[in-house]
């Protein structure tokens, strides 16, 4: 199974919906996508992993590096994950709090790092684990 990455704007934040399998083979694809977004000035990111069927430490490492890059760019990165086998990877490694992990997209709130108004991230229309990747990456 490949990795699909779908990027959309959500207020002052950029929503990156990831589906498929994020592992040693596909992690570089997400890393490039997140790096490109941050370099383009979109450093306030929400990474939605609810479409993932598999996540390993290589994928987790990409998210850790992207978190650092986003903060270096005065932004931030938050992760949304709901399935137990995905959330477990964060809790075992202790990265759930560092990633501000939440279980639902409706829990993603707050101001952007630039101090803009509170904005809710809109719920995606439908889960599509097999969607194409028209966004960055």
């Amino acid at each position: 199974m490949d990795l699909a990455i779908d990027t959309s704007e959500a207020g002052t934040r950029t929503l990156v919906a990831v589906s498929g399998e994020l592992d040693v083979h596909t992690a570089a694809q997400l890393e490039t996508a997140l790096r490109d977004l941050i370099d383009a000035g979109q450093a306030d990111l929400v990474v939605d992993l609810r479409g993932l069927d598999f996540l390993d430490s290589t994928g987790l490492g990409v998210l850790v590096r992207a978190l650092k890059w986003s903060r270096d760019a005065d932004g931030g990165l938050q992760v949304v994950a709901a399935e137990d086998k995905i959330v477990k990877v964060f809790t075992i490694t202790g990265l759930d709090s560092a990633m501000s992990l939440v279980r639902s997209i409706s829990s993603v709130r707050g101001t952007s790092s630039a101090g803009g108004p509170d904005s809710d991230v809109a719920e995606p229309a439908a889960d599509d684990a097999n969607g194409s990747a028209p966004g960055a990456g």
């Binding site: 040693v24 083979h25 490492g61 075992i92």
Partner: protein, 131 residues
């Protein structure tokens, strides 16, 4: 039940095969359904370590491989992941995340430098006793 052995190139595109086979073998051995994800992830982590080291060690020599052996002795399901790829002396970011995951996912796990200078990771899970 006899062991099964899978040898794959230590390359990222082949890592998925190892974890899928581990899941099938674990299910057939009687590992609880709710534990199969742990088996697949633990095996994936061990294989990924070999893949990362193979990438760091890239040379014009023979393509490095990793061998995964699956065994079921009736009371437990075990997996041994063995490679001959030099072990890094300095832990990288991937290893720092991978080892805690392996230890948390497998009730019994052991990782050591083997006789070929590579790494062997041994993992095991209990299986349900037959009714």
């Amino acid at each position: 039940m006899p062991s099964a052995r899978l040898t794959i190139p230590a390359a990222a595109e082949h890592a998925r095969t190892a974890r899928l086979v581990a899941g099938v073998a674990a299910r057939r051995a009687g590992v609880a359904e709710e534990v199969l994800d742990d088996v697949r992830l633990a095996v994936a982590e061990a294989v990924a370590s070999a893949v990362h080291r193979a990438g760091a060690e890239a040379s014009g020599g023979p393509r490095p491989e990793v061998t995964i052996e699956y065994a079921d002795d009736g009371t437990g399901f075990s997996v041994a992941i063995t490679d001959r790829i030099p072990v890094m002396t300095v832990a990288d970011d991937a290893a720092e995340l991978s080892l805690p995951l392996i230890r948390a996912l497998a009730p019994d796990s052991d990782s050591y430098r083997n006789e070929w200078g590579g790494r062997t990771v041994r993992l095991s899970w209990p299986v349900a006793a037959p009714a």
